[in-house]
């Protein structure tokens, strides 16, 4: 791996950690406060692409596992992985990968800003919502023993917030690409 890519990955992991330090936001019409950290996961894919984005997320999980309070709310340690929501943590890895994979293929320099934004949005939605929730719901169903449909119902309330994050990720991804283009992949 090029040193530059190693550094980009580590810096983005630091960004994801810092996003976890920001206070959760309450949006009027959504009953659940949304944290910025999962936005960071989508951004990792959109900005760094599949390989580097995935490694950035893995680094954050590694830091949490070895006992650093890097997850939002100052959570850390192996105990965090004992939660029923661990599927979402594992899902972060797949989410960053899918978001990055799709971004690399859907978004091209020659496209207009609108098309690029749409490409990033689709990527962030597929990765950060569809794939992420698949992991989260399946794990929840398995660990509690309840059926998939019940697990899905229980997770429903959080989906709108994360779908909104996909919009933010797309807009931010486009803005970062203008200011510091990293895609198409140079790694």
């Amino acid at each position: 791996m090029l040193t530059r890519d190693l550094v980009l990955t580590a810096l983005f992991a630091a960004i994801i950690v810092v996003l976890g330090l920001l206070p959760p936001i309450m949006l009027g019409f959504i009953p659940v406060p949304i944290t910025a950290q999962s936005l960071g996961v989508m951004l990792a894919g959109v900005v760094l692409g599949a390989k580097r984005g995935t490694i950035a997320v893995l680094l954050v999980l590694l830091l949490a596992a070895i006992g650093l309070p890097v997850l939002s709310g100052g959570r850390g340690g192996l105990g965090v992985f004992a939660a029923p929501t661990t599927g979402y943590l594992i899902g972060w890895v797949a989410a960053a990968f899918v978001t990055g994979f799709l971004s690399e293929r859907l978004v091209r320099r020659e496209q207009t800003g609108l098309v690029q934004g749409a490409g990033f949005f689709v990527s962030a939605l597929m990765g950060g919502v569809v794939v992420l929730y698949a992991f989260g719901i399946v794990y929840l169903a398995l660990v509690t023993g309840m059926g998939f449909s019940k697990a899905f119902l229980g997770s429903l309330a959080f989906i709108p917030g994360d779908a909104l994050k996909a919009v933010v990720a797309a807009l931010a991804g486009r803005a970062v690409m203008v200011g510091y283009p990293l895609l198409p992949q140079r790694a």
Partner: protein
Amino acid sequence: MRTLYVSGDSLLHRISPRVKLVGLAALSVVLFASRSPTLLGTLCVASAATYLLLRLPLHESWQRLRPVLLTIVIVGLFTLVADSAPQAGIFVLRLTSLMLLAAAVTATTSISDFMGEITALAMPFERIGLLKAADIGLAVGLVVRFVPEVLARYQAVRDAHHARGLKPRMLTTAVPMIILTLRNADEIASAIDARGLRRQK
């Protein structure tokens, strides 16, 4: 960044990190495979006893365990309503045991112990050319080094908003924070390469 390791002299502190991690993995398998309330109940009591052996102050333990405990309770209640009491009971016992054991391992294993295990674990992958084990330690060090810088950058961006009478919003703060941070990547990488920190030994 405060670590969750607590130095001490308990039995758990003296067991080697590898034994603890392998033991935790093995017990996780048992916890997930079992559906017996008796076995799960016993393991839960044993986990609690293990954790209590650490003698952490009550408020400290509460700080560490509360977030996970909260989600276990909420999901437990949901399972009770959506499924059945036995199912909810099994679930709560299973995850609470896991949480207590995992938290005990975290509290008694230092960062450098963990990194030693991870580097050892990575060696087979290095041999097949997938990665360099030393890069993991370097990457972890880089993240811990730069989190305070990134945080300071975020605060500067947020302050710049206030100074201009603007309300800081996710989009308008995240983007400058990301760009300003990533712009340093080239120089940091050059500094690492100039010092020869990643060359084959």
